[in-house]
Amino acid sequence: MSDELDEIQAIFFEECVEGLAAAEAGLSAMADGDTSAETIASVFRAVHSIKGGSGAFGHAALLAFSHRFENVLDEVRAGRIAASTGVVKELLNAFDILSDHVTAAQEQSAPPSDDAMLAKLDEILATMGASVDGGAAPAPAQAATQAVAATESPAAPAVQTEEDEFGFTPVTAVIEDLDPFGFEPIAVSLDDLDAPVESNGDWTVRFGPSRDALANGGEPILIIRELERLGGRVVRVDSSALPSLREVDPEESYFVWYISVPGSIDKSEINECFDFVAPDSVVEIERAEQVVSGVPDPDLDLDAQAPEPQPEIPVVKAIEPPVAPASQPPLTLVESKPAAAVAPSAPKGEKGPEQASQTIRVELTKLDQLLNLVGELVIRGSILADRLSPADQERVELPQLSRLTRQIQDSVMSLRAQPIKQAFSRVPRMLRELSSETGKQVNLEVEGESTEVDKSVIEKIGDPLTHMIRNAVDHGIEKPDERVARGKPPCGSLRLSAEQKGARILVRVRDDGRGIDRERVRAKAVEKGIIAADAVLADEEIDQLICAPGFSTAETISNISGRGVGMDVVRSNVEALGGRVEIQSVPGEGTTFTMILPLTLAILDGMVVRLANQRFVLPLASVVESVRPEPGQVKAVSPTNEVIELRGNYLPVRRLTEFFGLQGVEPYEPEESLVIVVESDSAGLIGLMVDTIDDRREVVIKSLDQNLHPIRGLGGATILGDGSIALILDVEALVASPPPSTSKHSLKGLAA
């Protein structure tokens, strides 16, 4: 059972993550001025759900905090607290603490310190938001006292103290003891605690349900049965009100029951039986003899009247439907911006809450398995095709089968695709924290967050992304005064964007800070022995140095980015994914980091080529054309560099056999080979010299690092139709790496 509970709890935490994301999105929208009822409600609902689950799973600290947070949100939702800039700012702060609480609950670590935030929330409640609104000029002293008073009586949601006038006494009890599957122990302990001295007289219960008690699916007889289960018995039924049969109204109630319940039963238990009885019913509970009542336990106030040994007054009072409960009138005037917040009217713009589509949760391993199977299907399909005669290959069934397979493949891939938003979602908070740590102001712009990428990619870019952003704020963006002095706006700008380009996803982090301090980076690289003191490096090469292993200027600059890992980890993480990192920096204007990642780590449309009689796969997305060179079309421009002339342009050519050091046949003439022109993000058009082209096919990418490690220049391997392995070429790495003969002079660590 506890396994099941763990599993449910795991889902609860997933929901928390979703809820936090929704809350943050809503709060951000509010900060941007969208205070529509829908937006506020979405934030409220998210926090409310977290609170609900936290109680159910016994996370007391999370429960207490989310409860107080919800209280404030409830007031904002009701329009009693205006969603002013000041209030929203505090709500965002509270949101951060809430995230910490969720994390703490999940990791079972110490909850974050939230006293200050709780006090702040109480203050907002007490002053109806005026305390955090500079403009509204509340009486500060009064506000402060209110806040203190509120803090002293924390509204603990766990135990319901109020007597419920509406017949809905909560059945909940002390949550610390909660065992959602248990059959103990609260009722028992109540008995123990409250067990009165022996020889108490029996209880006499008079129960006259009202007409309403029969409405709403109410059934008084069930209450009598419940009392009977407690040992009670019906001693008398007063049926004097019963009219003649003809006048009987089947929806009216005519009987009054007198039930004797053993004195050993605690009165609260009897009261509970009437929890759901309509308010205007008659319920009287009295002792047959007046004896000493049990000592009430102050912690258990389910029985608000236990101390009274007097004849009972009805527990359930007859009242009319409620007036609004004694809500505190606002102490100060609410700031004058509340119209949107108060009126639950049309939302601003068309962006309503996203429709929650129906979903099921599937274990990722099952998807992976499905993907593998589809991959096998693709392979079997090509084996089959290979074995058929050319005439048979043309028959309609085979293309149909291929198309179906392709569709299944696409569907499976789309199951794994997730909006990159998930990876971006923690950025706003990180920036808030970084801002407060560094005193720098940063305005975040996000673009393309709905771009979909494979789940495995999302999971793996989190850390690199975090580091790039920390790096941008820490090293890039200047402090406000420095910015002003340089003629920039005091608030820095950080732009986070994602876009799909062919089979690649580009994730960019762009800041408008000071740019890379190349002199300093260079000096550091020399000091660390990464480059020789007299090395001549282009600006771009210096920029790349910050990704070199062992390079980190962090400890001398601040403690934010310098956490023992540097940009080299970013680079290796990204390369492990088959991607790479580009850096563009303009001194004084800012730096852009670009992660270029494969769209999927699973399937590739490829061209099978031969190099030294070994088959390789080139991603078709990079292939522009293939050329069989005429004599003289490929020329050597240096001992190690060749170019091909193509329609008047000269493109660099790489001999891949040499690049890979394949011991093939004798170096051949270019005319005996094919030059495949590929387009790369980093080097534009470039020709790759191969022996021949076999065919074109979809291949399933098998990573090399599953059992080995990534190899530069290779994007993985695949299994061809005959069961043999072909290596997949990583065009970007191929064109980015210098030819092998010059690689010795390349930067240590960059070409390895």
Binding site: L5, G55, E226, P322
Partner: protein, 121 residues
Amino acid sequence: MSKLILTVDDSASMRMLLKASLTAQGFTIESANDGVHGLERMHEVKPDLLITDINMPKMDGFELIEAVRAVPEFRGTPILVLSTEFSDDKKARARNAGATGWITKPFDATKLGTAIRRVCP
């Protein structure tokens, strides 16, 4: 015979928790994740009892209760609200809408079972 209960809650963990704890007590549980879906399920499964959350996207708990009560067939079906909210005006709203009882989250499984037997014949 095992009582059939329809639980409506937008939180999957809450639905699962309810299902696990009530199944353990001999109830049969069906669930829905919002008011609209809940109303559909009411017609499909015709439960002995409806337990609904209040704060839900699309149709909230109040609206669901009203909609269920508007169906003659469900006029006598007991409805319990299970919510973290406990304000009196909410409870009154629920009763006016047609709720039979109100239980505040977090719930104790045993007491929830008792409460169910209190309204569910």
